[in-house]
């Protein structure tokens, strides 16, 4: 199995070597900058990369600008003034992409070797998925290559030929040949063409060069334009300026997938990369080396890295980037929790009260800790663990009163009334929330609305708690550790950091 893998990986190594050779003028990049692209979030999932397109589009304005790392744009009055850093970044990004491709193909080989065609359907499915992933990566590649254009342009006008352009061409060609398929080749050709052509002619060029332009890429372009426009007139309330982060969107299936890391040999899925690495040790001695076990690119970049923000795939959701008041999600975990909480069924029921339901199991656990201990009760039947939350709730809704812990004799009669009330209240809640959002003090109301909504769904998840559970990544792996199939529980410390650093794609 391993022997079969070898030629492929060797070929890819060669490609990389070539790349680095061609890259000589710019190859003084550090591992820090590399790590910027290391995050699995862009690599694992097919999504649009906002920033690269914005960079790509910027030269279309009459004066040439080159985006700097720190987000501010310096005007480029003349061609001679060329920033090698930006190019370097783009190159390292490309390299990372190629690396991804390599791993992907590696996996395909591994899969084929393992399954040996006894389940054709599964293979077909996998192939389709891989193709889709490849396509997306190529799209990203194109856009990344596009971002090289400004510097390319200057160089072209200055010396008519650039090493970076050549390098890219070579690299891509090689990639195309190794990964097999005319389709891909055409795509890559297009990418190269795009790179060389001035931006103004990009769209026409795209049509004229070839018909095999994938739907996805054109879609991406259009949506990207739309996105940019949205951001321009939107002036989002997010504190981040619109261009300072890129928006990524995961698909529904990816969000709900139980595992994100898969063994390339046996196909076993893992929640964390560290667990996968531990698992890999069983597949041979070469996985037991310190290099293989080490967490890839542990050191975090202290330099400014383009922030990543996430969009919910559900259209109409406030967390969806199409929404006018779009508020991006901070991490993948946020995306997962948000999607489950907001758009999925609540399948976990509290075993104590049998009324509270949750879609995120951590929420259930939090609730079960407090279940039955809530003493602050509203007339609508909602309970609160904190008095100020109850009063916030009452202050918000018309007709709700704090309920007095009544004597036992009243208990029988009050429960039925309460259940009735709670139904009514949920109806009114909705109406109130939507109605008031048009009100004068939008900000206030919105804040209250969120509070109220959270309260109705789940009183224990006040806004504060909510943020906390999302932000507290350190806690998360620790609490959930016992659930993971891996038995290497001594790897706690590594898991904390390695959790987000996935290396392979999802395969179902």
């Amino acid at each position: 199995m391993n022997v079969k893998d070898m030629p492929n990986s060797e070929a890819w190594n060669e490609v990389q070597q070539n790349a680095s050779l061609n890259n000589q003028p710019f190859n003084n990049f550090t591992s820090r900058e590399q790590s910027k692209w290391e995050d699995p979030s862009i690599l694992d999932y097919s999504m649009r990369i906002n920033s690269s397109f914005s960079k790509f589009n910027q030269p279309s304005q009459n004066s040439t600008k080159i985006p700097k790392q720190d987000g501010t744009q310096t005007q480029m009055p003349d061609v001679s003034n060329f920033d090698p850093r930006a190019t370097l970044n783009n190159l390292s990004f490309l390299e990372q992409k190629i690396h991804q491709l390599q791993e992907l193909v590696h996996m395909i080989v591994g899969r084929k070797a393992q399954v040996q065609g006894n389940q054709d359907e599964l293979i077909l499915q996998q192939q389709q998925l891989i193709t889709a992933d490849l396509t997306s990566i190529i799209v990203q590649l194109i856009s990344a290559a596009g971002s090289l254009l400004p510097s390319m342009k200057h160089n072209l006008s200055a010396s008519a030929t650039t090493s970076s352009g050549l390098f890219l061409q070579q690299q891509v060609k090689q990639a195309a040949t190794t990964s097999s398929g005319l389709f891909l080749q055409q795509q890559v050709k297009q990418a190269v063409v795009e790179e060389v052509k001035p931006v103004e002619q990009q769209s026409t060029q795209m049509d004229s060069v070839t018909n095999s332009v994938t739907e996805m890429s054109s879609n991406n372009n259009m949506e990207e334009d739309h996105e940019l426009k949205d951001e321009d007139d939107g002036k989002e309330e997010e504190h981040l300026p619109p261009g300072s982060y890129e928006i990524l969107q995961l698909e529904k299936e990816e969000i709900l997938a139980p595992h994100t890391h898969f063994c390339t040999i046996c196909g076993k899925g893992f929640k964390r990369d560290a667990n996968l690495r531990m698992h890999m040790r069983g597949h041979g001695d070469e996985y037991k080396t310190p290099a293989a076990l080490a967490k890839p690119n542990k050191e975090a970049s202290s330099e400014k890295v383009l922030l990543k923000r996430y969009s919910c795939p559900s259209i109409g959701c406030k967390r969806n980037k199409e929404h006018k008041k779009f508020q991006p999600l901070k991490t993948i975990l946020c995306v997962k929790n948000h999607y489950k909480r907001t758009h999925c069924d609540k399948s976990y029921t509290c075993s104590r009260c049998h009324t509270k339901k949750f879609s995120v199991i951590a929420d259930l656990k939090t609730h079960e800790k407090h279940c039955g201990r809530d003493k602050w009760l509203c007339s609508c039947g909602t309970t609160f663990s904190r008095k100020d939350k109850l009063f916030g709730h009452i202050g918000l809704f018309q007709g709700h009163t704090p309920a007095i812990p009544s004597e036992e004799q009243h208990k029988g009669t009050t429960t039925s009334v309460q259940s009735n009330l709670s139904e009514n209240c949920e109806m009114t809640n909705m109406g109130f929330g939507f109605g008031s959002s048009n009100g004068a003090n939008n900000e206030n109301v919105a804040q209250l609305m969120m509070d109220g909504k959270v309260n109705v769904d789940d009183p224990f998840f006040s806004l504060l708690n909510y943020e906390y559970s999302l932000g507290g990544l350190q806690d998360f792996p620790l609490t959930n550790f016992d659930d993971s199939p891996s038995s290497f529980s001594f790897l706690n410390s590594e898991e904390k950091d390695g959790m987000m650093c996935g290396s392979s794609n999802d395969v179902h």
Partner: protein, 685 residues
């Protein structure tokens, strides 16, 4: 029978001008429409409840007319409430403060009577025997109830508050000292009574920021908000200051409010007119300036017992252009602070500096020179003030109507002559413990509008001075001559003759006064309070004259009048049917006199200490006979002499016992020596 009827008719006609001059056998009132009789009845004001009673007893038609006319009811006993309320179906105000015991049953009775449709205000302050169930019944049936006074209902809990919350139309609510009500209960009220305009939560120690904030959020019409002594912080203030119509905010003794949090306040109330932050020890000038920064139309500001009045604090008042009244009682005052107030405040009408330390001639003089419109000035116990200040006050503030300067001991007697010469509009003058003499009184008698004059412990005044007052101050309502020992009968007679509208007189420890004074005082028909303790020359004869002459007498103090015995009390029991409070310690009254007092149905409070002729048996029967008693002061020796079940029974009726251990002091000390004693005690402490 008929004779009796005409006599009452005549009595009625005296106060109702349009009633027929000669009673005939046929009732002329049959010819007058009910509305006209109602108008006539409107003239029978509430000074003497007996008037309307007499009217209603004339005949059946009068009875029914009076029943329909009456709007306010103040019953003495709750036992008769069902019949009384059914008799008066139009009652809108029901004052139950005189009933010693109000239970849930009483309230449920009120809820079932005919008046529920018109009842708007129920006053339940002073009784604590009812619970939330009674309130729930009351509130459920009286749909038009707009005001409810539950002060001192210390046993009320959140359940009762929830019951109050059912009164949707409630506009005024007082919950003073309802200590067991928490945020939850007040939350129910806030949600249930959105029309509330006045709410008093003084001493409701269970209510915090959350409850107060919720009231401010839910009751948008709030005008008056009393939060005295609540454990609140500044967290609830933004919501309160957002109230659109809020006019009066009382934050007395809210120790949780401090400068740091006040400086964070962004918004000030636009409508606030009265602000009271007295006894807020943690609020200084910085907090005050941020609190008042947005309050443009503030008229009245109370900073009593707070931080020192310095230049900075006065500067924070600069923006309050409409400020009319400042109360700085008990503050440490600096000279520069007073000067700055004089400079910054546009036109003050009222200034109170009582018990302020640091008030000097310089400060006050510079203030009053700028504030010529001052109407009321209180410089009680500003002991550093001398003639200079008073001269400036007299020359600058000529439109002064009220001057209180008790214990300004350095002010010489000439200063009072000046006051009388310059301030002709004075209506209230408190000169207790001052050096004023007859010349001063002569000058002050020029203030023809004077209605309240306090001359207690003014040892320099004599009958001559009082006769000037009696001659010229015919509008005098209240006079205090406590321990003015040179006063004799002629002085009192002059006052009583010249001031027919006198309602309150204090002649305690004026030891030379005899029955002649009381007989002359008895001509003041409106007299309601008579304090003559420590007058050993008074006898039962004088008290009898008072009892006959002063029908409105409600409070009588005859302590240490050793010569008053049962013969004085018997007429009192017969004639003074309005008497509520009596102190008869150290007199010669016996069981008979005490027992006879039980015929006064209004009687609520008795002090019976050191009565030699009182036996336990007589006391027990008297206590049982007086059904309306709410407070009795007794010597603790009776605790063991009387059976415990008796006290339990009386306490269940609503009576509170106060026990005193003090031994009987026989000697009657001279006023001058008494004053010396007091001065010595002051020096020691």
């Amino acid at each position: 029978m008929k004779k009796q009827r005409t006599s009452t008719m005549a009595k009625t006609s005296s106060s109702s001008p349009s009633s027929p001059s000669s009673p005939s056998t046929t009732n002329v009132f049959d010819l007058i429409s009910e509305e006209l009789v109602f108008i006539i009845l409107d003239y029978l004001n509430d000074n003497n409840p007996q008037d309307k009673k007499s009217f209603s007893l004339v005949c059946k038609s009068f009875y029914s007319i009076e029943s329909k006319h009456r709007r306010t009811l103040k019953p003495l006993r709750s036992e008769h409430l069902p019949s009384v309320l059914n008799r008066y179906p139009q009652i809108s105000t029901l004052d139950l403060t005189l009933c010693p015991r109000i239970t849930d049953f009483t309230l449920s009775v009120v809820a079932t009577t005919a008046c529920v449709n018109t009842l708007r205000f129920v006053d339940l302050s002073r009784s604590k025997f009812f619970t939330g169930n009674g309130l729930a019944a009351l509130v459920a049936s009286c749909r038009s109830l707009t005001a409810l006074d539950l002060s001192n209902a210390t046993e009320l809990r959140d359940l009762a508050a929830a019951a109050i919350g059912e009164a949707k139309n409630l506009e005024k609510l007082w919950l003073g000292r309802c200590k067991l009500i928490t945020d939850i209960g007040i939350g129910c009220i806030a949600v249930g009574c959105p029309k509330l305009k006045i709410i008093g939560l003084k001493w409701c120690l269970g209510i915090g920021d959350l409850g107060v904030e919720l009231i401010a959020v839910k009751c948008k019409d709030l005008r008056t908000f009393d939060l005295s002594y609540l454990p609140i912080t500044s967290k609830c203030l933004p919501a309160i200051l957002k109230l659109q119509y809020l006019e009066e905010l009382i934050l007395e003794g809210c120790f949780g409010i401090d400068d740091d949090s006040l400086t964070l306040l962004k918004q000030g109330s636009k409508s606030l007119k009265t602000l009271d932050i007295s006894s807020c020890q943690n609020v200084s000038d910085t907090g005050l300036s941020s609190l008042t920064s947005g309050i443009g139309c503030l008229q009245q500001l109370t900073l009593a017992y707070g931080s020192p009045v310095t230049l900075d604090l006065a500067r924070s008042l600069q923006r309050l252009s409409k400020l009319q009244s400042i109360k700085l009682d008990g503050c440490l005052v600096t000279c520069s602070g007073l000067q700055a107030i004089g400079n910054y405040c546009a036109s003050l009408r009222e200034l109170s500096l009582s018990k302020c330390s640091g008030v000097t001639d310089e400060g006050l003089s510079s203030l009053v020179k700028k504030q010529k419109e001052l109407r009321k000035l209180d410089i009680t116990c500003c002991r550093k003030l001398t003639c200079v200040s008073i001269a400036h006050v007299a020359y600058s503030c000529t439109s002064l109507t009220s001057l209180r300067m008790e214990s300004c001991t350095l002010v010489p007697r000439e200063a009072f002559v000046l006051i009388g010469r310059k301030c002709h509009l004075l209506e209230e003058l408190d000169l207790t413990d001052n050096e004023i003499d007859d010349e001063g009184l002569k000058s002050i008698s020029k203030c023809s509008n004077l209605s309240v004059l306090k001359l207690g412990i003014c040892l320099n005044i004599t009958d001559v001075g009082l006769s000037y007052i009696g001659d010229r101050c015919s509008k005098l309502v209240e006079i205090d001559l406590y321990r003015s020992m040179d006063i004799t009968d002629s002085g009192i007679t002059a006052i009583a003759r010249g001031c027919p509208s006198l309602e309150m007189i204090n002649i305690s420890y004026c030891q030379r006064i005899t029955d002649a004074s009381l007989i002359s005082i008895s001509k003041c028909a409106k007299l309601s309070t008579l304090e003559c303790r420590g007058c050993p020359l008074m006898t039962s004869l004088g008290i009898a004259a008072i009892a006959v002459g002063c029908k409105h007498l409600t409070k009588l103090d005859i302590k240490k009048c050793y010569n008053i015995n049962d013969f004085g009390v018997l007429p009192l029991a017969h004639f003074s049917q309005n008497l509520k409070e009596i102190n008869m310690s150290c007199t010669s009254i016996t069981d008979v006199g005490l027992l006879s007092l039980s015929s006064i149905s209004c009687l609520q409070s008795m002090t019976i200490l050191h009565l030699k002729g009182l036996s336990p048996r007589g006391l027990a029967s008297a206590l049982l006979a007086c059904g309306g008693l709410t407070k009795v002061k007794l010597h603790s020796s009776f605790k063991t002499l009387l059976p415990q079940p008796l006290f339990e029974h009386l306490e269940a009726r609503g009576c509170v016992f106060q026990w005193r251990e003090k031994m009987f002091q026989d000697e009657l000390e001279d006023s001058k020596s008494w004053k010396l004693q007091v001065a010595e005690m002051n020096n020691d402490s």
